[in-house]
Symmetry: C2
DNA sequence: AATTTAAATTTGCGCGCGTAAATTTTTAGT
DNA sequence: ACTAAAAATTTACGCGCGCAAATTTAAATT
């Protein structure tokens, strides 16, 4: 590699034997220049390590090649996993993804929106905080930037919604639990941070009634995103007050279930399907960690790949001008039968 | 708020009654303009929602206000947690942090470096993949951009290193285990993705010898970042081949320990300190999940706050021109005694 | 070989802001 | 009130690239 430094596109145009506007086209969309030209540029790129100034590039471009990915809380492995998946799809499609976490804070979510707006991204993949989100701010943002909502829905906002079918989730795993033992009661947070929780409770109630059972919901106290601790503390309280009406507990999500399993352990209650076990516990989400709990957690898993693929491709299509009317895609979950229930 | 749109700084200068160069100063460093002037700008900002074009801003600025944060794998809760911590410190200090994950891939790590270079960040907080990192590329990068290395050290590269004292970690928890029961054997990956692992094994051996015990290391197969599964599968194999020489197992990290706990559960082996328990298991890292394993995992925890604070402040100081010779700061871990050992 | 079509080039303007130098205004100090 | 210092303003230029129009060159078609 030559060590002579290339300062700008003009200099690089000289050494590559291609005009600057052609280079500009190439860097924006390599396929848009003739193959022979592309080879000249590629050869020069190998020789001199020039990279265009991204700030100068994006200043005048109407449509940047960047995509924003926003999740409510990046330190939640579920969101980390789906963010990772989306990120790699963006890269594969030739975009520059930028990751954001709302840190579970509605005010910060609005700030992320502002930051994103000033980035002039080609599009945004946005998982809202849910209930707590500033609807008006989100609506204004969607009017300016092509935004695809995923994970949890906020009415008919943005290009489309892609997520899991929470009704199917809960009704499917409730069905499974009813068939294999006592009908479950439902363990949830009183004030859940996520709107999916409401759908899940409702679906549990519906499913139980349609199967001819009486639903029983245990709502525990606790604010914020420390679900495991809320599940653990709430689990202790529920046991102490004898709130579990059956020997089977369906949790609103896996993190809550993980906390409940810890509470069971601490109380000396054996969890599982065996004869020596007292109760069964199931979760919902297919959390990356659910395989490794003790006992391994029976859960209904998001189809991570399908959700992220559907979401990413819908956004890419919209960016490419294939506008379709708003639609909601809700993908089915897959029951993962493990030892806990 | 007035709805008349402000297109650029010139227009905003007119409506705020301040000159454009003064605005430029303000947006770069609000404290650098007189208080009366600042109030005029703040008032105008409330009235018109103008935000300077970040691309135009950064194009000619030598020193951007952005900071890059790079971790090996963002879907690992340990890195997610420390990244979150660092991110908020950057925001509090008035910087714009951007998060990157190397996805456990050395080639991708180099790409992240290239992306970062073109961002002209004020500084970078970089946690290398370790052994697998492209040392030369990293060195070149550090020559161009103020970079602080954290978590795992790569010789004397960058401004400084801040991380945990892996020798203290392992020797401290080994000491604890020896005092409270049988001396531990050491459970690790044969080809660890992280260089800290080597330090920990070495420290275990040293500690055991200094306490007058014979060290015993079990190295299990497995590539990549799926530590829990490697620990689980390796645990099964180790039990089947009777490789554990004592009833106490110190794992190289918490994720490995979590997988081992799962293997124990699957084998029907009771873990903990009670009379009815067969073995003790301990981890290292203070993984966010370690509180919720069954039994809760005894571990030695990183001082997340102190590591991220030290790292962030050292970088901020360097950015502000307070250059100090390279130094390595290794913070002690805190023993967290739980039920598993 | 002539024609059509596509791609690359030349030319030149503009984006929104940084920044430097010279000038004016404001503030602080005696 | 006068002076010196600090801050704000005016003026002017440049950054690196996007982009559009006109022109030239190369590729594809007949």
């Amino acid at each position: 590699m030559s060590d002579s430094k290339i300062r700008n596109m003009d200099e690089f145009a000289r050494v590559s034997g291609v005009s600057r506007p052609t280079l500009s086209k190439y860097f924006n969309e390599p396929e848009s220049v003739r193959q022979t030209t592309r080879r000249k540029i590629d050869a020069a790129l190998k020789k001199y390590d020039y990279r265009p100034n991204i700030y100068a590039m994006n200043q005048n471009r109407k449509l940047t090649k960047s995509i924003g990915i926003v999740v409510p809380l990046l330190s939640d492995p579920y969101f980390a996993e789906i963010a990772r998946n989306l990120e790699q799809r963006c890269i594969a499609a030739g975009y520059r993804p930028t990751l954001f976490s709302s840190h579970g804070d509605p005010a910060f979510e609005v700030e992320v929106l502002d930051t994103l707006r000033s980035m002039k991204p080609a599009g945004v993949l946005f998982a809202p905080l849910g209930r707590a989100s500033d609807r008006a701010a989100l609506e204004r943002f969607c009017a300016d930037v092509p935004t695809l909502i995923f994970d949890s829905s906020v009415d008919e906002i943005g290009l489309a919604f892609v997520g899991s079918d929470n009704f199917q989730f809960t009704s499917h795993i409730t069905d499974y639990l009813c068939r294999t033992g006592e009908a479950p009661c439902f363990f949830e947070m009183k004030t859940p941070a996520n709107p999916n929780a409401h759908r899940r409770r409702q679906s549990y109630v519906d499913a139980m009634q349609s199967f001819g059972f009486t639903p029983h919901v245990i709502s525990v106290d606790g604010e914020g995103w420390g679900f495991e601790e809320i599940g653990r503390v709430g689990g202790h309280a529920a046991f102490d007050q004898n709130q579990f009406s059956t020997n089977t507990i369906l949790c609103s999500n896996d993190r809550l279930a993980i906390g409940l399993l810890t509470a069971c352990y601490e109380k000396g209650i054996r969890v599982g399907r065996g004869a020596e076990c007292t109760i069964r516990v199931a979760g919902q989400d297919g959390h990356p960690h659910s395989r490794y709990t003790c006992p391994p957690l029976t859960t209904i898993s998001h189809n991570y790949d399908a959700v992220s693929q559907t979401a990413a491709e819908a956004l890419f299509a919209a960016i490419d001008g294939h506008v379709t009317p708003w639609q909601s895609t809700r993908l089915e979950g897959k029951l993962i039968m493990r030892a806990s229930a």
